[in-house]
Symmetry: C2
Subunit: 560 residues, 2 copies
Amino acid sequence: MQESTEGGSLNYLSRPSNGKQRVVVLGSGWAAMSFIKSWSESLSDKYELVLVSPRNYFVYTPLLPAMCAGTVEERSIVEPVRSVLKNKGRFFEAKCNEILPEEKAIVACFPEDAGFPEACFKLPYDILILSVGCVNNTFGIKGVEEHTTFFKTVEDASRLRLRVSECFERAALPATSSEEIEKLLSFVIVGGGPTGVEVAAELYDLIESDLSKLYPDIVKHVKIRVVELMDHVLSTYDRAISNYTAEIFKRNGIDLVLNSRVQSVSYDRVTTVDKDGSETEIPFGACVWATGIAMNPLVKDLQAALPEGAQTHFRSIVTDEYLRVHGAPDGTMFALGDAATIEQQKALDKADELFEKADIDNNGRLSRRELATILREASKDFPHLAEHARFLESKTGALRFGGIVAKAFANANKSTSQTIDEELYSKYVNDDASLDREEFQELLQTIDSGLRALPATAQVAKQEGEYLAKLFASQDISSSKPLDLKSTAPFEYVHKGSLAYVGSDRAVMDVPVIGPIMGYFAGLAWRGFETFSQISFRNQVLVATDWARSKIFGRDTSRV
Amino acid sequence: MQESTEGGSLNYLSRPSNGKQRVVVLGSGWAAMSFIKSWSESLSDKYELVLVSPRNYFVYTPLLPAMCAGTVEERSIVEPVRSVLKNKGRFFEAKCNEILPEEKAIVACFPEDAGFPEACFKLPYDILILSVGCVNNTFGIKGVEEHTTFFKTVEDASRLRLRVSECFERAALPATSSEEIEKLLSFVIVGGGPTGVEVAAELYDLIESDLSKLYPDIVKHVKIRVVELMDHVLSTYDRAISNYTAEIFKRNGIDLVLNSRVQSVSYDRVTTVDKDGSETEIPFGACVWATGIAMNPLVKDLQAALPEGAQTHFRSIVTDEYLRVHGAPDGTMFALGDAATIEQQKALDKADELFEKADIDNNGRLSRRELATILREASKDFPHLAEHARFLESKTGALRFGGIVAKAFANANKSTSQTIDEELYSKYVNDDASLDREEFQELLQTIDSGLRALPATAQVAKQEGEYLAKLFASQDISSSKPLDLKSTAPFEYVHKGSLAYVGSDRAVMDVPVIGPIMGYFAGLAWRGFETFSQISFRNQVLVATDWARSKIFGRDTSRV
């Protein structure tokens, strides 16, 4: 460790003197840890790897809902960053407060605590990996910040666990009126995505399996509600899955408050407005905010620090398809995970060339099949077109040489439909539809315009981390040498499917090629997958034994 | 549940209308839970059992030191009160703020939280069981409250766990000077009793087994110190055990700061004074206050509310040998655990009668053997004399009919020596010693004077709880009928031995009859005992698997 005061009053860790490039990674979530895990130890001969994060552990976020119910324990789904890093590099527990792209340095601080002062230091980098994630989005709604429980961190899930227990204890007191009991045992979850659905499901399990025995007199007053803006939950999943979930929820007495947005939240009630504009007040004991993410303030500051015009996106830092941050000198800054969005290469610039190649019969129009074929071919250069090609192929039956394959493709399409706007193709899916040169250009413009908004999921972040580690392994990354694009494949996301637990040992899975799977066996598969996918063997064993423990002995309801 | 407002503005749970006596138990520690566990379900036909405690779970306190190091997890050593209660009675999570002995009622409150107001209620009782424990004693020393970590609760142990992790993370930052590193990695434990020794031992294990791998650069700066007023640690144990512990600690680099008291504590240093009056400043990253307990404020208020002169003890509520609270009408109030002290029956009143019976040879003097014999006989009426009889027997060799038995008694004596003042007998242990009538009276007065201060341990509280539950099972407890003392044996404490973990898989045990056992096998026995002694089968399994988990995978060092 070289320490000096060259940075003025800030303690300063100067650049390695052994000729290594210093790679500073910010964050310890999915993207950062996937990058670290995929980082081969031999790379550390060439680079000095330094991880900086305010959190010294990784959280397996898909099991946070299970944790808030006590089905698994918090210690089982976290893993110390240092255990993952091992000999690959160093870790500093500190929050990055400032990125100085011109100076190629960051400023990070350990906060004031227990009488010990804030400890800040400046850390120069050669290459910066930005994987700091997003923050919660309250959409400016009054009372959300103060009165709801967010659901992004272990602390959030712990807080909810304690809160639910507190609500039951308060409700069981002799001083509690029946009106108050109803309020205390009303649990409102805002957001019908996978997180909201799983929190509702796990809460239901906790109450049904355990709390009903411990609080037999009051358990009948429990009400769980999920508030969702759209007309169905799990809207990024196959519709069959949404319907199945709604059915299970109905059977379990979980109310879906659909087509409704939250107007305001007070300490004990949430006001919703439905699509007709009529207001409803729902009293609650606990309200979970499981919807919406917003830009990390650090990312906002970085946008301003980069050359004007390079970064304009409202929520993320924009990268090219090699995850390089726009506006930063080549080879000095990468971004991935929820903090980043990939800007696609423009296919539009090659519209004419593509059209001519596609129009095999030279009639000046592209048939649906021709369109599908050219999109498939063009996807070699413009990977974002691949999913569009797949979508059209499934509709045209171009590859329908057998029922199974057809179904597979149809399903593959469904499972990525979250990023495809079906409307866009409504006029091309008829057998006799075709489009002329101008229409083709329009279509490309639509596909190209805007950014390729990959979903803000663990899966995307994980693949990006793996991709970036491979990039480091495949060539020298350095500001003195531009990236060798010829030999480098751009990042392409492969959707492996979506999973959600819906309660009563049942889960839903939306798997490409196979399609939607729902029910008890999906529940087993979900459990197996979530156990197997833990970041370490230790976590796998802990989660597996936790599941066994809570099945056998029930969940712990102590308000620790 | 009958609810009414007869108590004025306070919500009021009126007395049972079915003729049952209401037994209100305050607390959820060892005494209360042992009482509840031993309470036979059939008793609930006669009594309405109501438990009130601000904590809705029981903590297996002997494993708190293991928990602070992550060797076992907090959820594994807690058990919800409601799971223990089952069908025996009801539980209200609330803090008893006031006992009204004249009205035979308590007032308890659930504190204000998350916008929900404080919820108070009045609960009339027929019989009150006071088992609220003690609070921490700072002895009025400046800074203890603000800057040290107490070690009584799960929260305390959690706080210490996080604090240690924080100290390591701060020390590992590039901004940290070597002087600061030394300070941050200095851990001071005040109090060389079993708790202090075990905290030091577990911290040592955590650092040695796990943190040394994760923080290899800084671990050499770690220093653990135990500050103790006396000239040896574990002063209530056999001296051989103290010596062994000191030896193990020395080998492991744990410093014993003996003959020293704490003068003051600031946010980063503790000032000690040794017996010569010289001051030492010890900088620290964390300071644990594992010494001293003080009267619970609720007990103080109760003392004042009982008839004048009935309660004058400085630390506890005083009971008779049937655990009945002095000054409260017979059959209405019992106290047990750390909150209570048993006042012994006076043997002095029968001094003459006893002397004549004892003086077999009628020479007006009692030989050592005669003294031992009469104390043994008198112990039928005055149980507190039994340990004195045992002590003398071991010295006189009255029962030395074989080497083994003699050793057994000698050891039995040692293990209870914490309550016997050997000085007292120094003049009677010579073979030719004897005492006259006046000296005998003096001796009895000394033995009788003061209170029988049983140690404030889980073991005592547990036995008292079991005793009291048996008392309820054996006869009707009610204010309308005095206790049938003829058929009722007074409470007698049976010391089963003491245990402490000293680090590196080694433990010390001070077992009656067998004597002191130290070392690796004691470590195995300790682990087995602490697993087996859990309050539920669930906890037994959790603790056992925790031990296996942390042995195999190491302790989790995430700062969750």
